[in-house]
Every structure is written in structure tokens, then in C-alpha cells.
Symmetry: C2
Subunit: 295 residues, 2 copies
């Protein structure tokens, strides 16, 4: 058959393998599809975040994609811990608007829907919709995409799921209502993981390069002020700073810092060398083009 | 009856009303019991965090208690947003070790348990226990304490719940296994809310007073560095700093800052006045004795 379709063969590129946590149709999968929008993808769903990291480390995939922070629920410390533990490079980021949809089988009538399955967090984020559609009963499920798969497999014509548009497409469901979340300022920032550091082209046009680091300071007076002065005296702008207490060590913190610039640039390397003088630990996680689209 | 028990009457104090989000037996209730351990409490469970804030505002309770950050999952932005929106005073904090237990009816035999109900996050935090007890099936439920109530009400002798010790006591369940969570570094920091600012006694002995503020900076170069210098030049130590992007405003952030000292002290007031010179918004959330027990 392919012999009769030379144009298909011509267009076919080598597909790249991307691991993500969750099932097909998860928001992480959507983030991967958006990030690699011009590529042919082979998507690898994994059970745990840890499995995504180890797949990248073992090179059984080309990339991994994991969420790092959400605008409503904050930083995902579990993934920062995995970045600290594993030698892995962050080579990209993408922000995804989390928008929920009510999905059911094509043969189900909207007015027949009674039980709505989804992850409790998604159900909680759609409380307004449940209040104005009070015949619907919300029922907790493991994850959003999984609830869509469950509805697709069931013969029950009174059930629906809350999940992404992508999940609707994947499981052949119809979208009965879209954007049903209460707060539209719901964004998740995902990072792209690679096995080895990758050089980042310098700021070109509107692209701003961002470097992410983790550090913990020596117990000296005004340590954080000194750490930030290292960046201020070099006119390096900061994107994100977050302190996290290190359990068992009172007054000790692990800092998450994102600054403007590439680790390929010598002034950024010098800033990091300077930071090491007053730190117990400094780990450069990666440099990559910043996604400023949703902030 | 009470006439025959003068000692009870003698000990009886005026009970104080405390609102928390969730149902009786929730971790928030346990935080309230630990914080007000020498008081007679009248606990008010509320459906939403917002309801806790409005109960405090309307003075229908004396105090509210809400979680602000978890060591594994990060800051709870929703409650920071409610602190920003409402004129309310933070007058205390308490850290609670989140420890999960397997609970069932007293008549249920451990070997008969099949379905285990709890919040998906709690189920996820006990994966190791499920792996080594593979006859158990984990089943998602709205919340931990709610799953304990469900097990208590059910006639099914093959079900159990994962919840706090407090929930076991509250719903008359027995603890089949305790500390079943994979990661013992699971702490939640709760804050105590009051209607009006309350003076805090100065640092006495080992007590360290902490002040929490929110601020957003003017768009000037090195703004954060300048903000931190305000505290550094006054030798004010910082406990926590976190930046959070303000959606719709690129390069603009809302900062969460906890520093050592009471807002009753003039040097702290002067630091806040100084911060206002370079800020668009500064909001003092409260001053209170720091709970350094779990950090």
C-alpha cells in the first residue's frame, strides 16, 4: 500500500519517544503534543514520575515531560526532588492551560447523565458547574484521563467524565460542555527532560533563555541576600525564587531559582561559580527557551 | 446530674469555636486540637476554605485553621489568595506530621479486608503498603476522614479506610496498621486565623516570633535584591521566600515572605514601611510564635 503513496513516505520523519506520567489523554500528554508540535511522536505513558526520570536516564526514550508547578496548587516538590537526585538535563518548558470538559459516549444523551467521574481535584475545580447542573452527581476517580477511558469502556449510558479535549479524542467521547472549571487562571508549567546537557542558542529576537538551578546556602548571616547580590551585580534578572525548608535542619533551606540567561554564557557560569563560594550545594538543572506565553 | 459533679463544673472553661475545612476527623481538625491543646473546643467543620475565612470574618467563630503548605506538595496558593482578599489576621502556626493509618470496623478481621477507601493523594502516599499487601484494592474517595465515616456507616465487613488516628477515634474504628505512608517527611503547616490583629509578646526564651507578609514589587531593575536588602541591613532573618507569577502580568510576581520578628517591634514596622517605597502592594498577614518543631 505504501508503494502507492510516495508522498506519505516522503513526509514520514523518524519519530521521537517521549515518556510522561499518567495514561493516554492525560494533561501531560497534551503538554508533550504542544511542545513537540512539529514532530512525529511515540508517546510512552508511565505509572510514576520516577519512571519518567529513569526512562530518560536509561535512554529508553528521547525525552521525558513532567509538571513542575501549577498556578493554583504550587510547586511539585516531588519532581524537584527527582531533579536533585538524578543527573538529568532540563532542555525545555511549556505552560498548559488546564481546561476541563464534560465528556460522555456518543450514544449518551446529555439529559441522561447522572454520575460524573474524575479526579477529586478536577471535580473540586468544577464546583460551579455542579451547582448550576444539580442533577449531576460527582464521583471521585484516580485521574482525569483514566475516568474518560472508564466511561468509554462502560455500557452505562448515564455516566460521564471530566477530562481534557485530548482525552475525548483519544477515547472517542463527545464533549457535552467545555471550559467548565471555576477559575480560568489554571496553568501548569511542564519541563522537558533529556539525558545530556544540550547547548542553547543565545537570545534571538523575542526568545528569552532561562536557567534553572537548585542551591542550599552555608549558615552565614544574610546568606540569601548575598546569594541574590551575585545575580544583581551582574544584571541577571530572576524569574522564580522559592525556599523550601530542609526537614531535620532548622534554618536550612533548599532554593529553587530561575534566572535569565544561558549556562553557555560565561557571565552566567561565573555567577554560578560565585554562588558556590557561599553554598553547600549548587546544581544547574538546565538552560532552555522560556515559555512566557501564559504569564 | 451536673449538681452532683461540682469538680466538672469547676474545670469547665468557656469553650472556643474553631472553624476548619473538611469533616470531623480531618487532619485540619487534628491541627486545631494540637494547637489549642489546653482549651475546651467547639469544632466547626466547613465545606470550603472560603467558608472558614468568612466564618472568622463574620465572628461566628473565634478562630479558623487552614493548611498553608505541605512538605511534599508545596504552598497552597488558594489560601494565600484568601489571605490577600480578606482582612484577617494570622495569629499562630502549627506543623502537623501527616501519618496514615489503615482503619476498619471493630468486627472486621484484618485478613478479610479487600477494598481500601481514601483520598487518591493518601492512597498514592501508601503505595509501598499496597505492594506488600497485594490482596488489598485501593479505591478513591473524597477525603481521608470521609472515607473513615463511610466505612463506619457501611455493613460491608471487607472494607477499610486510610485516615488519621483521630478519624479512627471519631468513627469508632480500629487501627489495623499505622504509619503506612512511604515517606515520613510529610508535614503540613497550618495557620490560625483571627478577626483582628493581636499583639504578640516579644521573643521570650526559646520562642521566635515570625511575621508573614505578601508583596509585589514595582517593575524596577534588581527589585527583589533591593527588597531583601531592606531586611538584610536591619539584620532581620528570613524564614521563607516564594515568588508566584501574577497571571496576565509577565515579569510580575507576588512574593510570600516570612521573617523573624514581631510587627509590634518598630524595626520590623520600619522595614515594612521601607518595603512599601519600592512595592506596588504590601500586606502584613500577621505575627505569631514560630513552630520550629518539625523543621
Amino acid at each position: 500500500l505504501s508503494r502507492n503513496k510516495p508522498e506519505t513516505r516522503k513526509r514520514a520523519k523518524k519519530s521521537i519517544k517521549v515518556a510522561f506520567q499518567g495514561v493516554i489523554g492525560a494533561y501531560s500528554e497534551q503538554a508533550a503534543l504542544n511542545f513537540f508540535k512539529n514532530e512525529t511522536l511515540e508517546l510512552n505513558p508511565r505509572k510514576e514520575f520516577e519512571d519518567v526520570f529513569s526512562a530518560v536516564k536509561r535512554k529508553s526514550v528521547d525525552y521525558g515531560i513532567v509538571p513542575l508547578e501549577n498556578s493554583l496548587t504550587g510547586s511539585i516538590h516531588q519532581n524537584y526532588d527527582l531533579l536533585l537526585k538524578n543527573n538529568i538535563w532540563v532542555s525545555g518548558e511549556i505552560k498548559l492551560r488546564i481546561s476541563h470538559n464534560l465528556l460522555c459516549k456518543k450514544s449518551t444523551k446529555k439529559q441522561d447523565i447522572r454520575n460524573v467521574y474524575s479526579h477529586p481535584q478536577a471535580l473540586m475545580q468544577c464546583q460551579g458547574y455542579f451547582k448550576s447542573n444539580n442533577s449531576l452527581i460527582n464521583t471521585p476517580y484516580y485521574d482525569t484521563a483514566g475516568s474518560a477511558a472508564f466511561v468509554a469502556e462502560s455500557d452505562d449510558k448515564t455516566i460521564a467524565a471530566i477530562a481534557s479535549k485530548n482525552a475525548a479524542k483519544e477515547y472517542g467521547l463527545k464533549i457535552v460542555a467545555s471550559k467548565i472549571e471555576d477559575n480560568e487562571m489554571n496553568f501548569t508549567r511542564f519541563i522537558v527532560l533529556e539525558n545530556k546537557p544540550k547547548p542553547v542558542s543565545k537570545t534571538s529576537g523575542k526568545t528569552i533563555v532561562k536557567t534553572s538551578i537548585l542551591f542550599s546556602l552555608k549558615n552565614i548571616p544574610g546568606a540569601l541576600y548575598k546569594a541574590l547580590s551575585i545575580f544583581a551585580i551582574r544584571d541577571i534578572d530572576l524569574f522564580k525564587i522559592e525556599s523550601r525548608p530542609i526537614p531535620g535542619s532548622p534554618w536550612k533551606y533548599l532554593f529553587y531559582l530561575d534566572f535569565a540567561g544561558s549556562f553557555d554564557d560565561s557571565h552566567c557560569q561565573k555567577a554560578v561559580e560565585h554562588l558556590k563560594e557561599i553554598s553547600e550545594l549548587v546544581k544547574v538543572l538546565g538552560s532552555f527557551p522560556a515559555d512566557l506565553s501564559k504569564s
